[in-house]
Symmetry: C2
Subunit: 212 residues, 2 copies
C-alpha cells in the first residue's frame, strides 16, 4: 500500500542535481568569484528567487556542487590488485575528480563532505586496507592519514604546484638566508604534479606498510 503524496498541484521542474550542474557550469566558466545566486538563476533561465524553492541557502547550493563533483569518482575496487595498488587507484580517482574542476577546491574544503560517494569511497579504501591486514584503530588511523594526504595534495596543487611559479620564486630566494630552500626549489622545479603526487603517496604507503 503506497501512502501517496497528499497533493502535487505543480511538479517541480528542476532537480537539485540540475541546479548543482548549473552552478558548476557558472564556476567553470566564470570562476568561483562569478558564482552568485543571480548567475545560477540566469544560467537556468529562472528568476533569482526561484532557486530558493530548491535550496535553502547559498551554503547548501555550494554543498550540492561539491556533491556533484565528488559523485564522479568511481568507488568500485579494482580487482586482482595488491592492497597498496587498490588504495593508489582509489586515491588517484579522487584527485582526478576534483582536478577536473579546480575552481571548486575551496568549496570542497569548507563544506563537510559527508556526501554519499565519499562514504562509499571510504568503505572501499577500508576494504583494501583490510586486505592489507589492517584492523581496529590502526585501520582508522590509516584511512585518516590517507585522507589527509589527499586533501593536502589537492590543496597544495591548486595553490602553487611544485613546478609552478611559486617554486620559481623560491628558487630565486636569497641563498644566504635560505640556502636549502633555494637549492631544493631548483631540484623540485622539473617534477610534474602527477609525479609529485604519486611519489608522496608511495611514501605514505610505505609508511603504512612499515607500521604493520
Amino acid at each position: 500500500m503506497t501512502y501517496a503524496v497528499k497533493e502535487m498541484p505543480r511538479p517541480k521542474s528542476l532537480s537539485t542535481t540540475r541546479i548543482a550542474a548549473a552552478a558548476l557550469a557558472v564556476i567553470d566558466r566564470d570562476g568561483l568569484a562569478g558564482l552568485s545566486m543571480r548567475a545560477v538563476a540566469a544560467e537556468l533561465s529562472m528568476g533569482t528567487m526561484s532557486l530558493y524553492r530548491y535550496v535553502t541557502d547559498r551554503e547548501q547550493l555550494e554543498g550540492f556542487v561539491v556533491d556533484l563533483v565528488l559523485s564522479d569518482v568511481d568507488t568500485t575496487r579494482p580487482p586482482r590488485a595488491s592492497w597498496a595498488r587498490q588504495v593508489t587507484i582509489l586515491v588517484e580517482r579522487v584527485r582526478d575528480a576534483v582536478g577536473a574542476h579546480p575552481a571548486v577546491v575551496p568549496l570542497t574544503m569548507t563544506h563537510r563532505h559527508t556526501t554519499a560517494s565519499l562514504l562509499r569511497w571510504s568503505e572501499a579504501v577500508l576494504a583494501a586496507l583490510t586486505d592489507g591486514g589492517f584492523t581496529g584503530p590502526h585501520r582508522a588511523i590509516a584511512l585518516r592519514t590517507l585522507l589527509k594526504y589527499v586533501i593536502g595534495s589537492i590543496q597544495l596543487e591548486h595553490l602553487g604546484a611544485l613546478s609552478g611559479p611559486g617554486t620559481t620564486a623560491m628558487a630565486n630566494l636569497p641563498p644566504a638566508e635560505f640556502p636549502l630552500l633555494a637549492q631544493t626549489a631548483r631540484h623540485a622545479q622539473p617534477i610534474p604534479p602527477d609525479e609529485e603526487f604519486r611519489r608522496g603517496l608511495s611514501i605514505v604507503l610505505r609508511g603504512l606498510h612499515a607500521s604493520q
Copy 2:
C-alpha cells in the same frame, strides 16, 4: 649616507601588524563570517576607509592575518634530536599555531603562505631532512609530503575530527551498506585529535625512513 625620505608630513599611526591583530581579534570573537572592513575599522576605532591607507584590499588584509598567525611558530631547530624528532616538533608547532585560531583555517588555505615564517620553517625542515640523509629531488618530495600532511591534518581537524560528531554519525551508518566504515568509526571514536595527528605523522616519517 642615508637617502632620507623626502617628506613625512604626518606619521602613520598604525602598523600592518596592528591592523592584522585587530582583524584577528574580530575573527576570534565573531568568527570568520564576522570579518568585514567595517568591523575591523570599528575594532581600531577608525573610520572604515582609513583602513585603505594601510591595506589595498580585503584580500591583502586577510593575507596579513595569516602572516600574523604563522609568525607565532618557532622556526628554530631543536638541538640534539634525531632528524625525525626535529621534524615532528617543527610540524607540531605549525599545527599548534594554526590551532590557536581555528577560524582562520579557511584563510590559510586561500592565501598563498609565502610568509617569511613559513619560509624559515621550510628551511628548518629541510635542514632536519638533510640530517636524515635526504638530498636532491628526494628531499624536495619529502618536504612537500610533510607539508601536505600538515595541511590535510589542519583541514580535516577543523572540519570534523575523529572524535567529533561527524564520526559519531558515521558510527550510526547502515551497517549493511557500510560495514567497515561503521565499525571503523566506533574504533576511531576514542582517539583524540592529538594522538591521531601524532600517529599519522609517524606513519609518514616511517615512510620517509623506508624510502631512503
